[in-house]
Amino acid sequence: MENISKNSNWQRFSLRDWLWTLIVITGTVVAWLIYKDNMDIYEEVILFSIALPTIWLGWYWKSFQTHAYSVAVISLLSIWFYQLNGNIYQANEEVFLLKYLISSQAAIMWMSFLVLLGTVTYFFGLFKQSDFVYKVSTFITWTAATLGFAGLMVRWYESYLISSDYGHIPVSTLYEVFILFIFMTILMYLYYEQKFKTRAMGGFVMLVMSASVLFVLWYVFDRQSHEIQPLIPALQSWWMKIHVPANFVGYGGFSIASMVGVAMLIRLSLEKRRPQSRLLTSLPSLRIMDDIMYRSIAIGFAFFTVATVLGAMWAAEAWGGYWSWDPKETWALIVWLNYAAWLHIRMTKGWHGAPMAWWAVVGLFITTFAFLGVNIFLSGLHSYGEL
């Protein structure tokens, strides 16, 4: 019925996109060939069905290709160095490159540093209105996300080095999901940065990332939380591989929205009190901020919906019931209802500006409680990563 003219669409395809497609497919098949003995049918399905959205994401957002290549190169290099050095976990203490740069722990420490640095430079760029500083910030932030992602990939490999029955995807402890949260949120932010051609939000969004990094550092140095632990029986499930990342797209979207909310409130208050302020010219227009806020809540809400449904299905298989009013489940529902209400108000009452910005900021507190507070203050079936 819809006569899509192929030519116009295909023209947007450069050689680069074809190469990307080819590499993702090859990578998937090679990974499958190497690891198929360790995978059950669900994991094979997940592996292949992740390839399609990945290809699509690369087409849709070209910069993602570069990012993915860098992650792959760093991870493979690190794995290669492990293999050169006896393929033992202890190599991360002995081999210079691993110890200081690309073992998972080293990469994550670099990520932490770069996140903190990026936050400072973004704000510096904002006050100086310097394009150069801004560009440097963007580069630092991309590098941070790349190292974080690669760090987790390497950690995945390392977990198998420690002991073959320890091996698992690193999304099971609070430490691991924090890294996941940090680099996913950064990526989402970078997408909006490109799309809306404004780097002024960078410092604000990176504030949440910096807070997370500080938490992770405390958690590492005070609690040795980075040590790789095997999986308890309840977590030994392929559901974890999709449930957890989906959740973090949600959390990421909500955090970006809240920080854009903060920027918006600052702008509104400046407009009222100091209309001559130079900062006003650096901050994006209300309309753009409103739009980023809406989009990030929308994508957060959509993925949070998916994650909650997946969680319910997993719960049905692991605990025997799809809904048990477990604190983590309940708080996920609270977060979800909160943003559903936000979306409705915006849609049908047409609220904009300060009230919605405040609401988004409050939303971050609710989200943080669901993410962290539940683990600290409430006990339940979701008792992994307790503090």
Partner: protein
């Protein structure tokens, strides 16, 4: 939203309309969403379904009344919570039924008949003149719309002008329908699995939960549920080698017994550990017998891998001791002779024990085959393993005739501490306290024999006096009476030490000796005690044949054993009744905790969830867009007006419109 504005402008307001409007209103919907959130917060912050006494202590009687009146201790089962859910269902239902027809119309409508004036009032519009004939431009318009994946409809007006109307993304509206209907579907599924049915029967009095802890046969018949109950979720513990065909459903402050239409037999339960001591897997081998099965189903279930049978699911959910058989040697710690008796029992059994020091009741509560604990850093470094296995242990309570109870945790094999081997036995008088451990040093044969021999001697004043007299003959220059006083002092100090430990001697000195001499006397007593005990120890070693020629020269290891034994005996007066339970033998029997569910609402919920996800993505990521291209011939030229409308105003809408216009002109 224009639709909603239309909705709220009815011409006649009848009562039912007002009601419907209230029920379908966004304000009500948002209020309900917020109420649900707040209720959920309460449910997680206030611990649910605890013992009433705990609540009274925590909140005081006044607030306890308020909270329990509001049913806050079981929020998710409270009637008002159900009411909020029900209202949400109704609101969403009303909202969907009212909006859907409007939306469907909107989905199908191309609005191709809009007047030129109306087009010029659209959010985006642009007018220009092209040098081509109207027919050519019309063709071009259709092509352009197709190229951008619009569906189109052409409307020929009487005045000769033409409107080509384009529409795309009508799935957006479907998204609204899907996502909102799905909420209703999910709630219905959840209601199917809720305990409304049980609540109803409890209300009519035909169902009464059992609150006593009795055997299955004695359970009140009113607490039984028949096999055709249509949704439930319960637990049952089955010991290896046994089977069960009922489930226990926790209900109110008691439980219900659910008859199952099949029988589950457990042949084996296995627990596996990682090398760091964390549990790695729980597995049960089960057989499922049912009338319509010729052969039983055989399956191993584990966490995350349940057995699905018809519309039942059988999960591995917990494990416990299923009555392991355990044998003991019970040593009398206060007896002047080595003496022990044999007790054969099992976990979850009670025994009564008559001894010279009274009548005791022993309750065996648990048996553990492995006790995996972290090693200290040095040990870990040395062995390369962070964890060590302390071997089998039993947990039991000893209760005297007055009702005082001591709880013990005894290990079967010795553990290594700083290069020495000890048999550990933990004791406590309140479950809230941690165990305090008695460390019985193992002898050269890694047994407790020497310890019990030494202890019996310490307990035996007559014999020890004889031995001491033998080993410390009267020196030439000492008078007989001084010598006897010396021997008596030995004996009294040993008795005092046995009964009260080293601190007991210190306390004795504090109360009986003038202050200025206390230090001196205490030092003297300790010296005397030490040399007396050492003599007894040498006697024991001599008996064992350890010391053959040179009595004064014993090895360091033997010396250390002696010090450990003294510490151990000194703490015996805090160990409870003078009995020591040596675990000699066991046969482990485990039981597995199964959870079995029948959940007909599950598929309904899953279907609703799928719709919800699809709907949400359609709503967010499909934009419904309209374009009108109005053409009017002016001579051989054509006057073009292009207008566009998006159902969501986005920053790119304008850019896209301009791009469309530019391309159209080209």
């Amino acid at each position: 939203m224009s639709e909603n504005k239309n909705m709220s402008k009815p011409t006649h307001r009848k009562t039912p309309t007002i009601w419907l409007e209230f029920l379908g209103s966004m304000n009500l919907a948002i209020t309900l969403l917020v109420m649900l959130s707040i209720a959920s917060v309460i449910g997680t912050v206030l611990q649910q379904n605890q013992v009433i006494q705990d609540y009274i202590i925590k909140f005081g009687p006044f607030w306890h009344e308020v909270y329990s009146g509001l049913n806050l201790y079981d929020v998710y089962g409270a009637a008002w919570f159900m009411l909020v859910l029900l209202f949400l269902l109704v609101t969403t239902g009303v909202c969907v039924t009212r909006n859907t027809p409007v939306f469907i119309k909107d989905m199908k409508q191309f609005s191709e008949k809009l007047s030129l004036n109306a087009l010029k009032h659209q959010p985006n519009h642009s007018s220009f003149t092209l040098d081509n004939s109207i027919d050519n431009v019309k063709q071009h318009a259709i092509e352009s719309l197709k190229q951008d994946s619009f569906r189109h409809r052409v409307h020929q007006k009487e005045d000769g002008s033409v409107t080509v109307a384009g529409l795309k993304g009508h799935w957006n509206r479907l998204g609204y329908f899907f996502s909102h209907v799905s909420i209703i579907i999910i709630c219905i599924g959840a209601l199917m699995d809720s305990n409304l049915y049980l609540k109803y029967h409890e209300w009519t009095g035909s169902l009464v939960p059992e609150t006593r802890n009795v055997t299955l046969n004695d359970v009140d018949p009113k607490a039984w549920l028949s096999a055709d109950n249509y949704s439930y979720r319960g637990n049952v513990n089955i010991t290896e080698g046994n089977s069960a065909d009922v489930l226990f459903l926790p209900y109110g402050d008691g439980y219900l017994v659910q008859q199952l239409p099949f029988r589950i037999e457990v042949t084996d339960f296995r627990l596996d550990y990682y090398d760091n001591g964390m549990p790695k897997s729980y597995e049960s081998d089960i057989l499922l017998y049912a009338d319509d099965l010729d052969e039983p189903l055989v399956k191993t279930i584990e966490v995350n891998h349940p057995l699905y049978y018809k519309n039942y699911a059988i999960y591995q959910s917990s494990y416990a001791d299923g009555g392991s058989k355990i044998n003991f040697n019970v040593h009398a710690l206060a007896s002047p002779h080595i003496s022990s008796s044999v007790v054969e029992s099992a976990v979850n059994k009670n025994e009564s024990l008559t001894t010279p020091v009274g009548q005791f009741r022993i309750e065996f509560t648990d048996f553990k085959l492995y006790n995996i604990v972290p090693r200290d850093e040095e040990e870990a470094e040395l062995t390369g393993r962070k964890m060590q296995n302390n071997g089998p242990s039993v947990l039991f309570k000893v209760r005297n005739e007055q009702g005082t109870a001591w709880e013990y945790e005894n290990f079967m094999i010795p553990t290594k501490q700083e290069d020495r081997w000890f048999y550990m036995s933990g004791v406590r008088t309140s479950v809230a306290d941690p165990f305090r451990y008695l460390f019985i040093p193992a002898d050269t044969n890694r047994s407790r024999d020497r310890f019990f021999r030494f202890l019996a001697l310490v307990n035996n004043p007559q014999e020890l006096e004889t031995i001491l007299a033998n080993m410390a003959p009267k020196p030439e220059d000492m008078t007989e009476s001084t010598y006897q006083t010396q021997l008596r002092l030995f004996s009294q100090l040993i008795t005092l030490y046995r009964q009260t430990g080293f601190d007991g001697i210190a306390r004795f000195v504090e109360t009986n000796v003038p202050q200025d001499q206390q230090e001196q006397v205490l030092g003297f007593y300790y010296d005397q005690l030490a040399s007396a005990l050492q003599m007894l120890y040498l006697h024991i070693l001599d008996e064992e044949g350890v010391i053959k020629d040179d009595a004064g020269n014993i090895t360091e290891a033997h010396q250390i054993w002696f010090e450990d034994a003294l510490t151990s005996i000194a703490s015996l007066h805090r160990y409870g009744p003078p009995l020591y339970f040596e675990l000699t033998n066991f046969e482990q029997i485990q039981s597995t905790g199964l959870q079995i569910t029948k959940s007909p609402g599950k598929d309904v919920v899953y279907f609703g969830s799928a719709l919800l996800i699809i709907g949400v993505f359609f709503m967010f990521y499909v934009r419904q867009r309209r374009v009108w291209i109005h053409l009017k011939a002016v001579g051989d030229k054509t006057e073009v007006t292009i207008a566009a409308k998006d159902n969501k105003k986005l920053p790119e809408t304008e850019d896209e419109f301009e791009k469309f216009v530019t391309q159209f002109k080209a």
